[in-house]
Symmetry: C2
């Protein structure tokens, strides 16, 4: 039998032509969004001022199982997809483990991450509806980059509210967004009411994702024919990101493999939800029983220490309420936290699957342990991973080391969501031994929980 | 007939298992290296203090046509190769050209360029011989990154002399080299005699590639069991880089294509020499007659304005003399020059092919026109190209625009050597309209020519 290749690429013919809607197979659906004005379940029309119609429909559609990917999006996907399914032979050898380690690598595109998969879809539908500009927020910058690429391609003007501390720490992220024609505004800004109000309360704030979301939404609602787009958390994003899991599953099929364990890093849930989608379908329908692990930073532990409750998706409390694991919409990770995965909540779909026991495990790591894994991975697999992705690497390594102890030949699949080329400041800290950890105390978390809305 | 895919990947089975030595098919060989001590043609043993034995042999071997790629190097190649051959459908459409544009994309590895192809080979042979440390120089930083990746993989200590102005302008390049365990010393430094001497003459100098080479060689020669490695110019590097052209040709064979025009950017010649190798073989042996274009910066015009003469490969004048197109070994591009392609000379093989008319054309572009092409390419192909690679993009676009005028359906192949993620400072300049051009005057070039050694 010939050895499984290091890299498995699907052909264009083998690429998925439909997204998979995980909600269609969930025994119980996530609780509905609540309109904060009426305090009643949101209806489709409630979303139209914020999202374009097709995306609003995808957001609310819990029944359609497979959604055709429009031809124009498929054509764009073919520029940078399929992404490779990779066998980490060298890492396996270095760990001396009987486990087989696979990773789905989403970093080989200029956005540097999986975020492009949903960006192109969201811009396409907005363009088709005749929307004439878009707004969004970005934290670590991957989403802003991906969206500016897609907007450039479709000639769609874009304004990005970038968390102020990120725009200062990552001037080159800002530069790449601008190279693709996006306009970057550090958030909180004086361009919006919510920004001015937050600045008034706390003039020195470095901003947060929740705050940038509020500003971007206000901008969209107040600008004619403008809509807001979001890179994670939402049902529509998980739908688009299912391309990751569908490709991974098809590639594993080709080599006769199936994962015993599927691992994804978890911020808002976009990568995790996309990667696990078809494997979770197998579990929900009783065909297979893979073990799912979500990995988050100990400094932003929404799944491992958050409450499963209704909360706002933004700091300004203008979005619908979503039932999710949350640290409270005003939560901001401690200043020493590097990289993304800094959102206060978690995708309602992922939250529900975790709450109901289908997503088996959530675990949190301190960042120095995550960078240890990143450095080891870089040495043996010669890919410099994003800090976010490295959470999944850490967990995959730990599972592989367990296999070394038990002798089990488990098949591990993890999502390598992106590259770390714009995170070198964090790597420098790590290289110089200057990186620190901070685990929030219960005291730190209490104000966020106390401020949760009551229904 | 089905449409040619956007991306063509060879399978592992289809990947080349041999490098191709272009010298074996040249009607006339490049003039030999001259030992500056004896002023006689260098012999193999002259190279042993600097290069490990196997690489010295490859450097001097003008007859072996195909060289088996060792299994350990093939295994490394499989981590990041084959690189895709890409059809630039969107660019073609944007240019409204009947030309078919293909590019071989070498940027999808952490070094961000083709440099890794030779780095892994050079480290492997050194390790095999029992060499215990390596030195090199780096300018824009791609070579230093590639080499540090390869050294990390093979557990080989590495010292990188990095052109001082680059290490200041690109702290993140330095950081990534350090993440892979390489030690970075800004050049000129006080660590070497040649460095101290250059600093004494010009304490404020930002350094040059030629100077960094001198320091790295001195370090290697004076350190026990240490050797020097170089990322371009040399025959051995062109041999290893032939993997680019061999893969490109195999992929074009698969889809029934053959290029009418082959375009590569040219600094020291590593990418150009590798890309054109098998196509040049076709020309030298009379099988086909593709048209070859080398593209260089107007600010460092070794081929278009240099002399074809014997010169040193370094500023310190310690290397053998090579017959090549050169601006003189003390030439330094003007301070506003962004990116790489800043070496004073050109690969002796490339120089000879150009001098003898097999390499059809060399052209030079000002950098603002190059960044215009880069921005256009990024918009339509959603890859942010390296400034170096963008020289080839500029020429490919211009050839495609010619085809629009003539109606010719030419097949154009160019080398996209890498990505621009560590060149965002230059992109920022460009975005803000602050990028300038400088074409050296004849007066500027005269001192370099006057200082050429006389044989």
């Amino acid at each position: 039998m010939s050895k499984i290749p290091y890299r498995i690429y699907l052909t264009e013919q083998e690429m998925p032509r439909q997204w998979y809607n995980l909600r269609s197979d969930m025994p119980e659906l996530p609780d509905p969004y609540i309109n904060p004005g009426t305090m009643k379940p949101a209806v489709l029309e409630d979303l139209y001022p914020v999202f374009c119609e097709e995306l609003a429909k995808q957001e609310m559609d819990n029944t359609t199982r497979y959604v055709d990917i429009p031809e124009e999006i498929l054509e764009f996907y073919k520029i940078y997809r399929p992404s490779p399914l990779c066998r980490a032979y060298n890492l396996e050898k270095a760990l001396d483990t009987p486990a087989k380690i696979y990773f789905k690598f989403e970093g080989n595109n200029t956005s540097g991450s999986h975020k492009l998969n949903s960006a192109v879809a969201q811009v396409y539908y907005a363009k088709k509806q005749g929307i004439t500009s878009l707004t969004t927020e970005t934290g670590a910058g991957q989403w802003g980059t991906a969206l500016s690429e897609a907007c450039s391609y479709f000639d769609m003007p874009l304004t990005v509210y970038m968390v102020k501390v990120s725009s200062q720490q990552k001037p080159y992220r800002k530069a790449i967004i601008e190279t693709f024609g996006g306009k970057v505004i550090p958030s909180p800004s004086d361009k919006t009411e919510v920004g001015r109000s937050i600045l008034k309360k706390n003039p020195e704030t470095g901003g947060s994702l929740g705050c940038a979301i509020s500003e971007a939404i206000e901008h969209a609602v107040k600008t004619e024919n403008c809509r807001y787009v979001l890179g994670s958390v939402l049902n529509q994003v998980l739908l688009h990101q299912s391309i990751i899991g569908l490709e991974a599953k098809a590639a594993m099929d080709k080599i006769g493999e199936y994962p015993d364990i599927v691992i994804g890093c978890a911020g808002g849930g976009s990568n995790l939800g996309g990667l696990i989608a078809p494997f979770m379908q197998d579990k929900l329908t009783g065909r297979k029983n893979p073990y799912f692990i979500a990995v988050e930073p100990a400094s932003c532990p929404s799944m491992t220490r958050g409450k499963y409750a209704y909360d706002f998706c933004d700091t300004g409390r203008v979005t619908p309420l979503a039932k999710m694991y949350t640290l409270g919409c005003e939560f901001i990770p401690s200043a020493n936290h590097a990289g993304g995965l800094r959102y206060h909540g978690m995708s309602p779909v992922i939250s529900k699957l975790y709450h109901d026991g289908y997503l088996d495990e959530a675990k949190a790591y301190e960042q120095t342990r995550v960078f240890d894994a990143a450095a080891l991975f870089a040495k043996y697999e010669t890919i410099l991973p994003a800090p976010e992705s490295s959470h999944a690497i850490r967990a995959a390594i730990d599972e592989a080391l367990k296999c070394r102890l038990t002798g089990e030949e488990k098949t591990i699949l993890f999502g390598l969501t992106g590259t770390g080329y714009f995170d070198m400041a964090a790597y420098m800290q790590y290289n110089e031994g200057m990186m620190t950890d901070y685990i929030p105390t219960d005291e730190d978390l209490k104000p966020g929980f106390d401020a949760l809305p009551t229904l």
